[in-house]
Amino acid sequence: MLKFPIYLDYSATTPVDPRVAEAMIPWLTEHFGNPASRSHAYGWEAEQAVEDARGHVAALVNADPREIIWTSGATESNNLAIKGAAQFYKGKGKHLITLKTEHKAVLDTVRELERQGFEATYLDVQENGLIDLEALKAAIRPDTIVVSVMMVNNEIGVVQPIAEIGELCREKGIVFHVDAAQATGKVEIDLDSLKVDLMSFSAHKTYGPKGVGALYVRRKPRVRLEAQMHGGGHERGLRSGTLPTHQIVGMGEAFRIAREEMNAENGRIRRLRDKLLAGLQDMDEVYVNGDLTHRVPHNLNISFAYVEGESLIMAIKDVAVSSGSACTSASLEPSYVLRALGRNDELAHSSIRFSIGRFTTEEEVDFTIDLLHRKISKLRELSPLWEMVQEGIDLNTVQWAAH
């Protein structure tokens, strides 16, 4: 039994796993105490629940629970990490490095710091979406204090060489921040071996609730941050504000499940994604965006040439997908990530991000393959450009006349 629209937009957000909801709800209802209330059982039990959850988050990434700071989400974690580190270490230098393909939560934060007097280098990526380590080495200056590179890209799903970047940054004494919002539950994260100083986590990308995230802050060697939210001194003074027990419990449970089920789940999801890929690749002029090897199993970002992007999205309303990342789909600009891969505007506009997940079924994948086949051929039938290409005309040689 298919439910429409079929949800294939797991990278935008994930449903709360029923087990997570079940764990959360008592903390929303009967056990409603403020975890900072030291004076009664309502507060203590809430505090205990928060600490248990902290342990689950730490366990997924092989960190010490004391290294996990609760935030309202990965966007806030990214802001706290980058601004917090830049402001603390600005005596050492004022240069920041990141990639052009980062999430807006990182890019806008870095831009904000530029307005405050910092300097930034936004590195290009290779055509497969991966960082060029030589380019990073060349960009590092004596006054570089922070490097930020996401582990898994939200649009194209590629996995960056975090271990190698970490080695490089540690050698140079540069603080290394990683946005891992799209990574948890999808790739192995071992902060005991990765030389990462700061790492952002999101709950709602890993079957947890919205409104909660975390920031890993390394203790050995110690990383310092300027707090961005001041007040009652919560989270060792790094992030003030009453902790939302039920949301934190949800994140803890979601990460606990991820740790237990990730390997088996990834196998199943990879098979489904590969089926989807095979089913779509048998059409002409279909291009996968981003490296297929260094990529999470959940993501498939595909451009369908000679199909108008908006029409395509409208035509496939039976599946809920994304063209461009959710956080910027208010604007109809072509995806800056795809542009960074070298895709031209038309191809960028004609791209779809399929992201599957825990509850995706084979039936849904089959339906999607069939739907895309029908709609793409129909749209191409209507496309004069497609007609010309079929006739063997090289569109690049055409002189387009203005009217």
Binding site: S72, G231, H246
Partner: protein, 386 residues
């Protein structure tokens, strides 16, 4: 099921049943990201718009004046730091009895060249007119005075204070977190430029708050990113909590209306009866003579340590507080009481009881009995130790 009698409503409140019902679908099948263009996303976007309208209605503001945040602390930080970022460094003035999440961000502004001033209060905890006059002579660019104090329950005359600050060209903010749902909170009538409110103080969930802000006041966002909340607060919206916040506002408004019609057995009656018992037993009740929230009782019994008394009452089955939750880790006596001129020793004996709409007369009576019993025991112990 053992459940202590909950008399700490100012710390946080139990979730309203209607709020729970409203929230559950958004932790279930309605899980879309509000920025997604498909049906899941559109559903979430519509729910947020509806919640925004409810919050706006509850405070008499326009929906476009409501900026959702993760809570009251964040909203306070957003006003103070966000406004200061777009102004030339000047003077920021806050009352001497503000919550740390107003005082600390204001103090932080000193690193950017701002002058920080505290506006003194009288022995009851009300802003002193003369103290404000002195501060106004420095033409503060930013000013914040809370509507209702979380510890004493004292209500400030915000319309009068705001008018005076506006008179010297300053922006005025009030932290209305403890006031919403207890007294009428009307944005325009208050004459403030910005107002902070929080869901979990009014039967809503933890994790949602709002800064209600006059659009003439320019704010730099604290959290950059995908541009949500018209660029003022980026980050995937917490739909469930926002929906809960909207319904909680409606419920709170309905309760205030219902209270107007009530005659006997209001919260005030229960609180006043408790205070009469306390005074008879020799307690000092803080701010008794000042305009106060009906539900709050902040008192001290000389020679009886507040933390100790509270711990014993917890064991006896009553949840109360010594000082506010946010600072109950710190051994410092209440900043508010010190600002009121209360000696540190007495301040260390301070205990706060705050009632709510589910509190019964029976609960308060049992509490009074238990309290007096514990006080006697503690006094005997002290006498023995001498």
């Amino acid at each position: 099921m053992f459940a202590p009698v909950y008399l700490d409503w100012n710390a946080t409140t139990p979730l309203d049943e209607a709020v729970r019902e409203a929230m559950l679908p958004w932790l279930g099948m309605r899980f879309g990201n509000a920025s997604s263009r498909h049906e899941y996303g559109r559903q979430a976007r519509a729910a947020i718009d509806e919640a925004r309208a409810r919050v706006a209605a509850a405070v008499g503001a326009h929906p476009t004046e409501v900026v959702f945040t993760s809570g009251g602390s964040e909203a306070n930080n957003l006003f103070i730091k966000g406004a200061a970022a777009l102004l030339k460094p000047g003077t920021v003035a806050v009352s001497a009895v503000e919550h740390p999440c107003v005082r600390e961000p204001a103090r932080q502004l000193r690193r950017n060249g701002w002058l920080f001033e505290e506006i003194a209060v009288d022995a009851e905890g009300r802003v002193e007119g003369s103290a404000l006059t002195a501060v106004l002579s420095h033409k503060p660019a930013l000013c914040s005075v809370m509507l209702a104090n979380n510890e004493t329950g004292v209500l400030q005359d915000v319309p009068a204070l705001a008018a005076r600050v506006r008179g010297v060209g300053g922006w005025f903010h009030t932290d209305g977190v403890q006031a919403l749902g207890k007294v009428p909170v009307r944005f325009r009538e208050l004459g403030v430029h910005a107002l902070t409110v929080s869901a979990h103080k009014i039967g809503g969930p933890l994790g949602a708050g709002a800064l209600v802000v006059d659009k003439r006041l320019e704010l730099a966002p604290l959290i950059a990113g995908g541009g949500q909340e018209r660029g003022l607060r980026s980050g995937t919206e917490n739909v469930a909590a926002i929906v809960g916040f909207g319904v909680a506002c409606e419920q709170a408004l309905a309760r205030i209306e219902a209270r107007k019609a009530e005659a006997a057995c209001t919260l005030k009656t229960l609180r006043d009866a408790l205070e009469a018992d306390l005074i008879e037993a020799g307690a000092s009740v803080f701010s008794r003579g000042a305009p106060r929230l009906d539900n709050t009782c902040f008192f001290a019994i000389e020679g009886v340590d507040g933390e100790t008394l509270v711990a014993r009452l917890d064991r006896a089955g009553f949840a109360i507080a010594s000082g506010s939750a946010c600072s109950s880790a710190s051994p410092e006596p209440s900043h508010t009481l010190l600002a009121m001129g209360v000696p540190a020793a007495l301040a260390r004996s301070a205990v706060r009881v705050s009632l709510g709409h589910r509190t019964t007369a029976d609960e308060v009576q049992r509490f009074a009995t238990a309290l007096l019993q514990q006080v006697n025991e503690l006094k005997q112990l002290t006498a023995m130790a001498v």
